[in-house]
Symmetry: C2
Subunit: 299 residues, 2 copies
């Protein structure tokens, strides 16, 4: 199969590029810890050229399509958000060009904004691609959690990203275990399923800040081993994502396999039907769909 | 009035001692940023002697009664918790001695533990004194929030500290503004009442982690000025304390005047009847009550 285009996910801390065939097959990939926060605005063309030079050398200039934080204020070029409900065509019609070192143009896909169920504004950059990819895989309406630092709880209805909300589970976990009293003076941590489930059980029933301190008192009273406090906190936070049960029917979990196993334990415990779909697969299926829906002669 | 005893609140970051008359009047105080975490266990007698040397020089050895984290594992001596419901007499009967440099004994008052409304264990050291003091002031059953790093929401019923729960408002605020994306890249912050109330309004209605990210998106969309983000986050967190409305009738707020004004704005907005009582006043009234209820000849 011949390489015919390049899909890029350029985030704040990592650069990931995928060499794609016309049919949407990934032939090669480049992963570098070269997040866009480390790139001065004027140097994006040169840095990008360097990052994918091995493909340039072998295949010449291929069309490039990018998504993620590369389209944010801190990125290569700030591109606006498309307001949800947003379809594939809305996104394919709203790409913005940047000039590569070769003089060719690359496209950056817009992010998606919405007003969530609480009436607050929401933004995503990159996850909209995964949602499109997930729809390519399951070909019907769905509800999904794209979990990570900032999890997105999303609904796809009638061919559109309908609405979503953000839950800061990953980041809250990180600040609590690294910077709060809950994470202080702990020995080496191990994952423990019972401790995790104890957290899920409490976290999904009660308001978060009213039960967080239990991570300390359960340790004091030896009701959770001091080796399992991280697992317990993870359970509390993931459980809290399901404090609101606005999930009917099957729930799709999109993300890395590692974290997915925690969510899987929580959802089993909470009797919520789910399927785990790989995040990279969704991203590439989504980028392929956008690529094939756009005006490719513009590159 | 003659000084006749000394009340001490020795916490993890601060040392505070009060020179008391028999009638419970505070005649002098010593405040030092000499938290017990900085004192090796064996050096407590010497450090204490140094801290209050000016009173020793003037008045000789006075009875000393201490409360707070000084009775914890990291303190001078670990003293057990009294289980709630706990009365003044329960606490006065459960003090533990440590030996001062002079050879005289000082007393440390026990903390109080309980099982909260969510079925989780709770611990307090120091706040039980303030609750006793508050009861001395208002002389009836009450519900109170002792706000701070870890706020205690407490009920006093029939002469007992009946139950309480911990809400980590102060610490969550600190880790979110200092260590999360919500606090990143902000200009100088000012308090703004409208931004604060916007936070209270959202925080008291919705589960915390599902609305936290709004501190970022409201800024992105200029719906909260970037100068008021800390005020908005404070509102979200204080509002979230009232997500559960288990307050009937008047609520007493115990703590510093500075933070009390934020709570006052929130409670006005939420139409909750309240009174603010100074935290130091409660502490000294509580220590006086314990001092007068104990066997003073044991000192």
């Amino acid at each position: 199969m011949n390489p015919s285009w390049i899909a890029v996910d350029w985030g704040t801390t990592n650069f990931r590029a995928f060499l794609m065939s016309d049919g949407g097959e990934c032939l090669d990939r480049i992963d570098q810890a070269k997040g866009l926060l480390s790139v001065p605005q004027a140097q994006f063309p040169a840095v990008f050229d360097l990052l994918i030079s091995r493909w340039n050398d072998s295949y010449g200039d291929l069309p490039v399509i990018m998504a993620g934080m590369v389209g944010s204020q801190q990125g290569w070029r700030e591109v606006p958000y498309v307001q949800a409900p947003a379809s594939v065509q809305d996104l394919a019609n709203n790409t913005y060009s940047v000039e590569l070192l070769s003089g060719h143009k690359a496209k950056i896909v817009s992010g998606v904004s919405c007003i969530n169920q609480f009436g607050n504004p929401e933004v995503m950059r990159g996850e909209e691609i995964q949602l499109i990819g997930l729809n390519e895989i399951i070909k019907e309406d769905f509800q999904a959690i794209l979990f990570g630092t900032h999890s997105k709880n999303a609904h796809w209805i009638n061919g559109n990203i309908d609405s979503y909300s953000t839950v800061m589970t990953g980041e809250l976990y990180s600040v609590l275990v690294n910077h709060s009293i809950l994470g202080k003076s702990l020995p080496t941590q191990e994952f423990n399923k019972d401790a995790f489930i104890k957290g899920v059980d409490i976290g999904h029933q009660y308001p978060l800040n009213h039960v967080l301190f239990s991570a300390r008192t359960f340790k004091l009273f030896n009701q959770v081993s001091e080796h399992y406090i991280h697992a317990y906190i993870s359970g509390l936070l993931i459980g809290h994502e399901f404090f609101i049960s606005n999930w009917l029917g099957k729930l799709y979990l999109v993300g890395s396999q590692k974290l997915a196993s925690n969510y899987a334990i929580a959802l089993d415990y909470l009797n919520i039907d789910f399927d785990v779909i790989d995040g990279d697969e969704c991203f590439l299926k989504g980028m392929t769909k956008i690529y094939n829906s756009g005006e490719n002669d513009e590159y």
